[in-house]
Symmetry: C2
């Protein structure tokens, strides 16, 4: 099986289709890389690319995409609802196959160093690549946004890991890092009371004393008269999806509310669902090599 | 995604390693084909090859392997515990990816016709390729075994689909056909009473009024003081694994016996386990394209 990395870079352009296409193009042109998705949001004025491929192919494609973003996005004129600090806002690398987290971190450092040198861009390493605990969280790095970065980079705690200590005049600042695959997993509850979903969300999530790799919030599904605990599972290999589901079911009992369904939004690694099947079936001694398609990868 | 077929041919040689290797070799040498497993059993005097690959590559490899088997196996001298009727006993084709059952049937007919012509071998089409209902079941075709085939082929009901109506003097008779993937799925019960597993096996299986694509029997796990309902799920897309598991759990209740685990033996298509995860999680609107690895296939 070949080494496969996923990359989900976010760029601060979601309105100008010509620029969006230029930024996405390298992921379709690079050998060994497959573009899976390009999402644009006009309100956020932001685009999110999802691509998979070989580490070195991905590096080449990402650098080329960053080149386009730096050339065509002017952050001094950028407006949008989503927090952002640079033309290339954030570049996460996710190890998918035959690649360790350490190797993904090494790849992120390579890309960060090359981008900083080529584009004269301050780059922060974040998440698993972070060089200090206070720099792991993207929200902490991005706090102050593009407009606040000039002041922030004067703080000794916020010196970039690569590149100049001055904000790039039009492209701002970028974060690059490795992280575990993120799974968007929602659990629907058989009630229209948002307060119930809200109370449960606060218990299942890490910051509320819940599961370590789980972020959660309540969402109302008005058209179905249901509420939802909407989650980001930030490391399913440590906090399995079934565990979040069963904790929610358990907490919902005190409200007399049933779990009526769940959904995975977007992509999910096969292992995350196989882990759930294995738990509910009580599967013994199961190995991923027993999956027929494993041998096609 | 490319078209992928699985082939699990059974040959009547499980003792002579030189012959086993000659028969398996085409599956390692053919481009577009991957040999996953070769199982030999000395008592059965039989080998089972598991290979996946492109339909045309598989056809070439299988014909080459049959050539070796016909050349090196003499059924007049064959002894073994497993029922058998030919040097190439049975050749099942299983559609795995981007291939319909109809296309797998067409492939099996191509292989049957070519093998019959090249090796002067009577070939029966079986399972989904069968040309009459009484010929669908392999056991019915094989009844009488090699020694009884000369008489059997005189019966108008048992004329081969391809090839001569005389048994090949040394290679006997072969069955070729398309079928759904078979999953070996066992459910362990928290009792040492084989009679309980036996009673449940008889209820869950098709011939006992149970699930249509389920064969089942009781097995004793002596070293664990447990019993097992050992199943062959012959079409998981129609009879899901979770359904068999839950029917067994339900039947076990009347004996006060818990389900304590389950196991999948050998290979299983990803879909079979994703279906189970989706059932137990109540997953809504899930599509296989959401599986990240799907995009690597």
């Amino acid at each position: 099986m070949p080494e496969i990395v996923e990359c989900v870079p976010n760029f601060s352009e979601g309105r100008d289709k010509a620029v969006v296409d230029k930024i996405a193009a390298p992921f379709t042109q690079q050998e060994g890389v497959k573009l899976l998705d390009v999402q644009t949001d006009g309100d956020h004025n932001r685009m999110v690319v999802t691509a998979i491929g070989s580490p070195q192919g991905m590096k080449t494609a990402v650098i080329a995409a960053m080149d386009q973003a730096v050339a065509h996005i002017d952050m001094t004129r950028h407006q949008g609802q989503h927090p952002r600090m640079g033309a290339v806002d954030v570049v996460p690398f996710i190890p998918i196959q035959e690649l360790s987290m350490e190797e993904a971190v090494a790849l992120s450092r390579e890309v960060a160093a090359e981008a900083a040198a080529r584009f004269d861009l301050p780059v922060f390493l974040y998440e698993r690549s972070a060089t200090a605990p206070h720099r792991a969280n993207l929200a902490a790095i991005r706090k102050g946004q593009f407009e606040g970065m000039t002041a922030k980079l004067k703080d000794p705690l916020w010196q970039p890991d690569f590149g100049p200590t001055q904000v790039h005049p039009s492209a701002g600042v970028t974060a690059v890092g490795a992280r575990a695959p993120l799974v968007a997993f929602n659990v629907n509850l058989g009630t229209d009371q948002t307060a119930v979903a809200d109370a449960i969300a606060k218990k299942v999530r890490h910051i509320g004393g819940g599961l370590r790799y789980c972020k959660a919030m309540a969402v109302e599904l008005e058209d179905r008269s249901l509420v939802q605990v909407s989650m980001n599972m930030t490391d399913f290999s440590q906090t399995a999806l079934y565990r979040a589901l069963e904790v929610i079911r358990m907490e919902a009992r005190r409200y007399g509310v049933p779990v009526v369904g769940s959904e995975v939004v977007g992509l999910v690694p096969m292992q995350a669902l196989i882990d759930c099947a294995a738990y509910y079936m009580g599967l013994e001694n199961f190995g991923m090599k027993q999956i027929l398609e494993h041998h096609l990868l």
